[in-house]
């Protein structure tokens, strides 16, 4: 598959503050790439450079082979966006707003179809100002799709959506992927990224700290299972085939490559000592576990 979004050593500074610090990745046709990272990691900055809204300080970016800052109307015609922060006129109705934006494109989506995609048929005649936050977010998404874009930049497209609307949005995005649209998506919902993304990039403090499929992210501890329980006893844990991870309160988290042996060692030790391992659980590490590991410390610059 052809790469339609290419980012090479992207750097963006605001004054002396480096928001994006040498980030490289790409997105191919028909691929959904999820971008994760704590607040202030540089996700929006990266996406806005790709949208041509911000000029990069260094590095190269290409969207459909064009420099986004110079691609002009030709490029913008093929790109749909949901911005993290932007406005639409509250005085227009939902249908009028979608019609206005669809009118910018030669190959537009019919207004009724766009409304149906985001489940806003009932709100078609309502003023945008009278919509709830989640409904307004769905209008944003409808506007991004009005273009029948080949590339989609979605910056937290489901923030504020109720669970049903979020699932519906996932279906829409999955459908677009099936048609070869390249999607770059940011989200703070790990489940969303797990479900949608073919690949995940994790940003932290302006750098790309991991990249890979959502179920095998971050290398290193990728195969380690997690054993958790609450420590309601004072005895020291015996040595075993595990590594103890930092955890809050009385919770103990052990990472192990060899779950069977570790469980055996742990439970037989507990039985011998007569201690109870409360809430004992063995599970495969989730995307969330790996994400939190990767982005520990240094939040909110």
């Amino acid at each position: 598959m052809r790469d339609v979004i290419e980012v090479h050593e992207l750097v963006k500074r605001y004054g002396s503050m480096t928001a994006v610090d040498g980030v490289s990745f790409s997105v191919a046709e028909g691929e959904v790439v999820g971008m994760l990272g704590p607040n202030g990691a540089g996700k929006t900055t990266t996406i806005e450079v790709l949208e041509g809204i911000r000029a990069p300080t260094g590095g190269q970016v290409r969207v459909l082979g064009h420099d986004p800052a110079r691609g002009g109307r030709h490029l913008k015609t093929q790109v749909g966006v949901v911005l993290q922060s932007a406005g639409i006129d509250g005085a227009l109705t939902v249908a009028e707003t979608i019609a206005l934006y669809a009118g910018f494109y030669r190959h537009r989506r019919p207004v009724a179809e766009a409304l149906a995609e985001v489940d806003l048929e009932e709100c078609a005649g309502r003023r945008v100002a009278a919509l709830s936050g989640g409904q307004r977010r769905r209008v944003d998404l409808a506007l991004a799709l009005a273009a029948r874009p080949r590339v989609l930049f979605l910056d937290e497209p489901t923030t504020g959506l109720d669970p049903a609307a979020r699932r519906r949005t996932w279906d829409v995005i999955a459908g677009l992927r099936g048609q070869g649209v390249a999607v770059l998506l940011t989200s703070h919902y790990l489940e969303e990224v797990q479900r949608l993304a073919d690949r995940v990039v994790v940003m932290h403090l302006g750098r790309l700290v991991a990249e890979g499929p959502p179920d095998r992210l971050g290398g290193g501890s990728e195969l380690a299972s997690r054993i958790t329980f609450r420590r309601t006893f004072t005895d020291e844990l015996p040595p075993g085939p595990w590594e103890r991870l930092a955890a809050a309160g009385t919770t103990v988290v052990l990472a192990t490559e060899d779950a069977t042996e570790a469980m055996h060692a742990l439970t037989s030790w507990a039985v011998d000592r007569g201690v109870e391992l409360e809430g004992l659980e063995l599970r495969r590490p989730s995307l969330e576990d790996r994400y939190l590991e990767l982005t520990e410390g240094g939040h909110d610059r």
Partner: protein, 294 residues
């Protein structure tokens, strides 16, 4: 084989496929987007009529009030004509300044501050098509206000307009609107925030209007002030409007047209190069530009 409901859900018809590449790449003609922008701005106008209402009502009230306090006065400086002969075109020009300048500064700043321009900038809408939309709406408000002010002046206050003066009046209104609009767009780029828009717009426009004989004729004005006013864009416009009601009426002079065109063209060029889509004041913009050059 039966599929569980979850599967049926995920198999729901996918949204329309993007057209084969090659066709989707061609943007719509920029010119074709302009009528939609005019319609959009008019819709906003109809939905928020208060702003344009003030544009009409304030000059109208001033016309009636100023005429009431000086009913019998005649104006030596205009060849002994009744004061309403001066006030009617003067208030019409004030209405044009409101519609073309003040409303544009405020409207553009609000749209920019709310991120509406930012969102539009992510689409293939060209800057000039957006501006044509705003200009269209301003022109309609300006034309409406001028008609109302002239109508009230002529019908109720007995101002006299010779039919031979009408083409000159139309030309003056048009030129005045275009110049005001271009200056309004430039001015909006200097305004840091929504709250500052109205004070900045009126703060610039009113003092110039005062020395430009928009509210009262000032035959005793100092010569230097008179020449300053004549070089600014308001006086040539207001005087051209007022001369349509003079006895005998005459049109815009070449000198007035020259000054207005110079301002208009200059402002249009500056507007094209300085137009901003991103919210925030000029200082923040500069800092941003500097950082992106580094």
């Amino acid at each position: 084989m039966t599929s569980p409901p979850a599967d049926a859900d995920s198999m729901r018809a996918a949204p329309g496929a993007p057209p084969a590449s090659g066709t989707s790449e061609r943007p719509r003609l920029g010119l074709a987007l302009a009528p939609g922008q005019v319609r959009y701005q008019l819709l906003l106008l109809v939905r928020n009529p208060l702003g344009s209402f003030i544009t009409v009502v304030v000059p109208l009230m001033l016309l009636i009030a100023l005429d009431l306090v000086t009913p019998e006065m005649t104006l030596q400086s205009l060849g002994g004509v009744p004061v309403v002969q001066f006030l009617t075109p003067a208030m019409a020009s004030f209405a044009v300044l409101n519609a073309g300048f003040v409303d544009v500064v405020v409207g553009t700043t609000v749209a920019r501050d709310q991120g509406v321009l930012r969102r539009l900038h992510a689409t293939p809408l060209p800057t000039w098509a957006l501006l044509i939309g705003r200009l269209g709406a301003s022109a309609i408000v300006a034309a409406g206000s001028v008609l109302v002010v002239l109508g009230v002046g002529i019908i109720f206050l007995h101002a006299h307009l010779a039919s031979s003066a009408i083409p000159g009046l139309v030309l003056s209104t048009t030129v005045g609107l275009l110049v005001s609009f271009a200056l309004g767009v430039v001015c909006s780029t200097l305004v840091p925030s929504t709250e500052a828009a109205l004070p900045v717009a009126y703060g610039l426009m009113l003092p110039v209007a005062f020395i430009s004989e928009v509210f009262f004729p000032a035959p005793g004005e100092a010569a230097w002030l008179r020449s300053v006013a004549a070089a600014l864009p308001v006086a040539p416009f207001a005087h051209a409007m007022e001369s349509a009601f003079a006895v005998p009426p005459h049109g815009m002079t070449g000198g007035q047209l020259g000054v207005l065109l110079a301002w208009g063209v200059g402002a249009a060029v500056v507007a094209i190069f300085t137009f901003r889509w991103e919210p925030g004041g000029l200082r923040r913009q500069r800092a941003r530009a500097r950082s992106s050059l580094r």
